[in-house]
């Protein structure tokens, strides 16, 4: 049921000063044997250098990784210690699947708004190339039993339970723990439910590559990306791809469903390595240091959906979060200048948009009076998104926030009017995080 939002309490503003990331690289390519800590430290150092933060004690650095080694229990703090920030800068790790980076930003901006801290960096990192591989549950149980055993005899007995097949290592998977369906299969089910066509998905993918390529060419990323390990641009970007080439790809997900499979490697994001970081502060802190203020991080909303028994699609939570966020600010889709909808899959964007246009769905599931609305497609992911850039899970939030902040700043400078961007990130577990960014 929809509830009338409480008035937004008045707090001071949290502003976005700038962002930095390393180029994103397809798994198994440039960043092989590069750790999460290496990548996040590099993104952090680039940001420190860009804004002259060497030796500075920041309020907090917050971030995380989705695929994390147990040795990285303090990944972000260790990255801070390896950076030129003051070692007196506190840090902590968060994890909310693909929404990790955006959730980290929500956490630090809330502290800035409440006056608990003056400055912060939020971000994330992920590597599939250096992902943790663990031992099987049976081997782990036997080793732990042996470890806990008091006598040599008991230790040997515990170890004797190990069978040869228990020795096979276990790689991380993108499967949902409760359904054992991969994220792609889940989205294929949602795609079938909403009847999203192959052509519409390929068009989203094509636009993503075209837009990202144009943004790179125009120098948009010159102050957002620091080269790393010999890579100067996102290596998943295919400026020369075409609708014809995309149409030739074989389906990668949904092949066992009754409906025709429409999701391919071209309209789904590839596994990617990378890291990103964004600098936030109070306006006062920025002004004292004469740092640029790109935008305000106005507000955010998280949501979750009941996907386990198929009532809702796995990646549909942002469809519920956005109407709640905009209602709190008395805004509609018409008031948004830039839609940054994370392209986990092209069809994730399309099922979200379809849901907002569906009167019945908006009434029964979102508790609205009618359809939420239709967006102007020319405002969608104007500088490309994850299909072209790639998607190192926890790093995506930081990439999008920095892009959105620059876009609204430029638009406001050009028009003299405030400009707004809406950020939407879906995540495993039926989760979603969305945020509103407005020109400062």
């Amino acid at each position: 049921m929809s509830t009338t939002p409480s008035p937004v309490p008045s707090t001071r503003e949290a502003v976005i000063i700038g962002g930095n990331r390393i180029p994103f690289s397809r798994a198994g390519k440039k960043y092989v044997r590069t750790s999460n800590q290496d990548m996040f430290t590099a993104a952090l150092e680039g940001l420190v250098a860009r804004f002259g933060l060497q030796g500075e004690r920041l309020g907090e650095v917050v971030g995380g990784a989705v695929l994390k080694h147990s040795k990285n229990f303090n990944l972000i703090r260790e990255s801070v210690l390896g950076s030129s920030l003051s070692p007196t800068t506190p840090a902590y790790d968060v994890q909310q699947a693909c929404a990790t980076g955006l959730e980290a930003a929500i956490a630090v901006t809330n502290k800035i708004k409440l006056g608990q801290i003056e400055s912060a960096i939020a971000g994330g990192t992920d590597t599939v190339s250096d992902a943790p591989i663990v031992v099987s549950d049976r081997l782990r149980a036997a080793l732990l039993d042996a470890n806990h055993a008091k006598t040599t005899g008991a230790k040997l007995k515990a170890l004797a339970a190990i069978r040869p097949k228990d020795l096979a290592p276990v790689s991380p998977s993108t499967g949902e723990p409760r359904t054992h369906l991969s994220m792609g299969e889940h989205q294929a089910i949602t795609t079938a439910k909403w009847g999203i066509s192959r052509e519409a998905q390929d068009e989203i993918a094509f636009n993503s590559h075209q837009n990202l390529a144009r943004a790179w060419e125009s120098g948009f990323f010159d102050d957002l990306v620091t080269p790393f390990r010999g890579l100067t641009r996102d290596d998943n970007l295919r400026p020369d791809t075409s609708l014809e080439k995309l149409a030739k790809l074989k389906p990668a997900f949904g092949s066992s469903l009754d409906t025709a499979a429409t999701m391919t490697a071209g309209n789904s994001t590839p596994l990617t390595d990378g890291a990103s970081a964004v600098l936030f502060a109070s306006r006062e802190w920025a002004e004292e240091r004469d740092l640029p203020v790109l935008a305000k991080f106005v507000d955010a909303e998280t949501a979750a959906v009941d996907f386990v028994h198929g009532h809702e699609g796995l990646l549909m939570a942002p469809a519920a979060a956005v109407p709640r966020l905009l209602a709190r600010h008395g805004l509609t889709l018409e008031d948004i200048d830039f839609f940054e909808i994370h392209e986990a899959f092209a069809s994730t964007v399309l099922t979200t948009l379809a849901a907002w246009e569906d009167e019945e769905y908006c009434r029964t599931e979102l508790g609205l009076d009618g359809a939420f609305g239709k967006i102007d497609r020319s405002k969608l992911n104007v500088n490309g998104s994850s299909l072209a850039a790639g998607h190192p899970f926890a790093a995506t939030g930081g990439r999008i926030i920095a892009t959105a902040a620059k876009l609204v700043a430029a638009k406001a400078a050009e028009t003299g009017q405030p400009a707004r961007a809406l950020i939407s990130v879906c995540a495993a577990g039926g989760l979603g995080a969305v945020a509103l960014v407005e020109s400062a």
Binding site: H180, L257, D258, T364
Partner: protein, 329 residues
């Protein structure tokens, strides 16, 4: 609702038919010995005349469940039940199974243990049973009746706590080629094949070749059709097949204690066996969603109140393995 529940006799009253005598056992029998007896006895049980069931209830008055902690943990781990001291219906089925098997291996039980086909199962939990409680278990066979391929019979198992009925499970088996007591042909002899389109799956189960052995180890049901390809071939299956109750128990676990409630009905109808290894697509849906084509109400309490329907089929094919319901009572 699917059609599985309506065909089943599951009288609300407790206990066996009035004419049945009671045979007291000191403890639950061990399945290993029963299987040996069942295998040896199966050869002698051939169709001859109308079947007549032994009118006897086996009863074990005091089963202390305190010693079942490790067994329960193994069951929970295998089928995906959360760690809890409340015994899931599937575990109560496993606990009572040896007593029902003891009825089936009696020399006067007319049907052969080997070769019985599990058609369906209906179980009700009427009050939760907790680890450590002392329970009474009783089992008997009833209602031999016609099936289009032979005779079907219900094996009923009940669990009582402090004299109150806590669980009642009815397992319906088919003995091919046997004749029902009334000699009548089955009413569904010419039943047309039902049209079926696979729903969108909600889960995918990759069942390895060891699935039958793993559930066999936990349930004690080491029937060779589940545990080895050779054993399965002897009964006409190309490979070992998964225990039907394993699939049903997983569906029950995936709905979970929070949504099925403390008291619930759990039904399953077995269609085509799951040959191992196999990938089974499963749709475990709110009954309200399934009925309304995916719009069972925005509030989960409303959706969950109607219970769940579940379907299992071979991934990418039209081979239906099972269907059932899980309904809070």
């Amino acid at each position: 609702m699917t059609g599985s529940a309506d065909e089943v006799t599951n009288a609300p009253e407790a206990g066996a038919p009035a004419s049945y005598g009671v045979s007291e056992l000191a403890q639950l029998p061990k399945l290993g010995g029963l299987f040996t007896k069942g295998v040896a006895g199966s050869a002698g049980k051939r169709p001859k005349g109308a079947v007549r069931l032994p009118e006897v209830t086996y009863r074990v008055a005091g089963v202390d469940t305190a010693g079942e902690a490790a067994h329960l943990a193994a069951y929970q781990d295998l089928v995906g039940e959360p760690s809890s001291e409340v015994l899931p219906a599937g575990f109560l089925h496993v606990l009572a199974f040896p007593l029902a098997t003891a009825v089936m291996v009696r020399s006067d039980f007319p049907l052969p243990l080997l070769g019985l086909v599990h058609l369906r199962n209906v179980a009700r939990v009427l009050r939760p049973v907790r680890l450590g409680e002392t329970i009474e278990v009783r089992a008997w066979a009833q209602d031999a009746r016609a099936h289009r391929r032979g005779v079907q019979v219900d094996l009923v198992a009940e669990v009582l706590v402090d004299g109150d009925l806590a669980y009642r499970g009815v397992s319906t088996y088919l003995a091919k080629g046997f004749t029902a007591p009334d000699g009548a042909a089955a009413p569904d002899a010419e039943a047309p094949r039902e049209e079926w389109t696979a729903p969108l799956p909600t889960a995918r189960w990759k069942l390895g070749s060891g699935t039958g052995r793993a559930y066999g180890a936990v349930s004690g049901d080491l029937n060779p059709i589940h545990t080895s390809n050779l054993g399965a071939k002897a009964f006409g299956f190309p490979r070992a097949i998964a225990h039907g109750m394993y699939s049903a128990a997983r569906a029950l676990a995936e709905v979970g204690p929070a949504l099925r409630g403390e008291t619930y009905e759990w039904t399953v109808e077995f269609l085509k066996p799951v040959l191992l290894p196999s990938t089974v697509d499963v749709a475990i849906r709110y009954a309200a969603d399934a009925a309304a084509g995916g719009a069972g109400g925005a509030q989960r309490e409303d959706r969950a109140a109607t219970g769940f329907v579940y379907d299992g089929w071979r991934s990418g094919k039209d081979t239906r393995h099972f269907r059932g319901t899980i309904t809070p009572l």
